[in-house]
Amino acid sequence: MLARIQVPSEVKRGELITVRLAIQHPMETGFRYDHMGRVIPKNVVNTLTCRYNGVEVFRAEMGSGISANPYLQFYTRAVASGELVFDWADDAGERASERVAITVIG
């Protein structure tokens, strides 16, 4: 599962970091049928967590009501240089992880 994560590479201590991410995923609802009339099973990215230097700062539980290629934007306060670790999983059991380095100045 490909993902595009945008965070500022450098941020001042105490300021807010804007985290924007988009995951490439069809977010199948389970309500669609294929050309043979069979139900396409539900498969959505159900959980996503963001940890900042090991501390969980954000967690999302998503359902079929979230659009395909889910996009999320949230904030976290810059405390120390380190990395943001994103982990997510879908209904098919596929897991993915992505790391982004953050430099805190001042």
Binding site: E61, G65, I66, S67
Partner: protein, 152 residues
């Protein structure tokens, strides 16, 4: 004559604007249909209106991807913060769209995402605060083509 019709038009549009405003101020219209879901979230606690801002276009051509921004008024300090934000839909086959868990380190209780909507409806957003209170707000969206209609 011409002048009079212009006056009438202006009066009518002013009234229209007032009606439009009144619609926005309605108190959580969608909550009745979502009662079991809401009760599961609040655990029977009072649900108060306010503190939550739901930013969503009033009209959407298509329900596949509707931009949604939620802002909750909170200091996001250790003493007072938003624990979770629940996004509910009145008409989707699965009423719970998403749940976002926050903590004081977030700094700002604001989330932006894109949602699927099955037709024109009200979106209800419930914020669970650290002090055990629940705040809600709703927004009406008109969707021309629903996400559940397969166009192929």
């Amino acid at each position: 004559m011409l002048n009079r019709s212009r006056r009438r038009f202006l009066a009518a549009s002013a009234a229209g604007a007032l009606i439009g405003h009144a619609r926005v101020c309605r108190a959580l219209p969608a909550i009745d249909g979502l009662k079991p879901v809401v009760e599961k979230i609040t655990g029977g606690a009072d649900l108060r209106e306010g503190r939550v801002t739901v930013d969503v276009p009033h009209l959407s051509d298509n329900g596949h991807s509707v931009p949604l921004k939620i802002t909750v008024t909170s200091a996001m300090s250790e003493r007072e913060y938003v624990r979770a934000i629940h996004v509910l839909s009145e008409k989707n086959p699965r009423p719970i769209i998403a749940v976002f868990h926050l903590n004081p380190q977030c700094g700002r209780a604001e989330i932006a995402t894109r949602v699927r909507l099955n037709g024109a409806q009200n979106l209800v957003v419930i914020a669970a605060m650290s002090d055990g209170t629940f705040w809600a707000s709703s927004a009406e969206v008109i969707v021309t083509e629903t996400a559940c209609l397969d166009a192929t």
